[in-house]
């Protein structure tokens, strides 16, 4: 494996981790919106 591939892998993993966390937050926000609607 070319050393540059490790650089791409590290950057890609960083954004994958942040992206996954933001996706979890977005799902949580969606669930909360549903619960608020139900309460209304």
């Amino acid at each position: 494996m070319n050393a540059t591939h490790y650089l791409y892998a590290a950057y890609a993993m960083t954004w994958a981790i942040h992206g996954t966390y933001l996706y979890i937050l977005a799902r949580k926000a969606k669930r909360l919106r549903r619960e608020i609607e139900k309460l209304k």
């Binding site: 494996m1 050393a3 490790y6 590290a10 942040h18 619960e35 309460l39």
Partner: protein, 228 residues
């Protein structure tokens, strides 16, 4: 509030794009490691941001223990969660850098082991917050956070006081960092701090909303119980 959030989001996107460009194209190529050294521009700022968040978690936990402030409890929770995300980035990018440079993915070196322990402490903190239903949970979590924070200076100073395989400190460690590399590191640190601030803001608002919803649900079920 919404306008401030949008401004911060746009600013963060600009900062991250510029920091990415600087890491790949402005920073000079390191002579021994080559391009793989550029992982350093994501690895080091992520570690610094994680330390800052764990420090805020520590301060907020102490405030919670003194005043029993719900706001301090929420700030502690949010900072621990986002700190774990940044610490995960550190633990993933580190071995990716180590493989071509050291020839191994991982070694039980003091700095690496203490960082893994730090991650495990805050993951335990989040597991406690997530699964314990007791009213004492915030108190127990605050105590755990206060003791957990002791690991932060241990991780930071482990490469100052002990001979480890991990490279020497970037700032004040006696090493010579090219000024251009230092500037790019600073850009990435600012960009990741802005990202952390943005995520913490979002997560804090979600936590406030979630607690309000749970309170409203509890009130509603109480009313229904009374009506029966």
């Amino acid at each position: 509030m919404k306008r401030g959030f949008t401004i911060l989001a746009v600013l963060t996107a600009i900062l991250l794009s510029f920091a990415f460009y600087a890491a790949l194209l402005i920073a000079p190529t390191e002579q021994t490691m080559g391009n793989v050294q550029r992982i350093f521009y994501y690895h080091v700022p992520s570690a610094w941001v994680a330390f800052e968040l764990f420090l805020i978690n520590f301060v907020a936990s102490v405030i919670y223990l003194i005043r029993r402030s719900a706001k301090a409890d929420m700030i502690a929770l949010v900072c621990a969660e986002v700190g774990v995300v940044f610490c995960t980035v550190v633990l993933i990018t580190g071995p990716i850098w180590a493989r071509p440079v050291w020839g191994i993915w991982w070694t039980w070196d003091l700095r690496l082991t203490l960082t893994l322990v730090l991650w495990l402490i805050y993951v335990s903190y989040l597991v406690l917050r997530r699964f314990s239903m007791s009213s004492q949970t915030p108190l127990l979590a605050a105590v755990l956070a206060v003791f957990g924070a002791l690991d932060v200076p241990m991780v930071y100073f482990s490469i100052w006081f002990f001979r480890t395989q991990h490279p020497s400190p970037v700032i004040g460690g006696g090493g010579s960092l090219d000024p251009r590399m230092g500037r790019v590191l600073l850009y990435n640190w600012i960009a990741f701090m802005a990202l952390a601030w943005l995520i913490c803001w979002t997560r804090y608002r979600l936590e406030v909303a979630e607690r309000a919803v749970h309170e409203a649900e509890a009130m509603q079920s109480l009313k229904e119980e009374e009506a029966r």
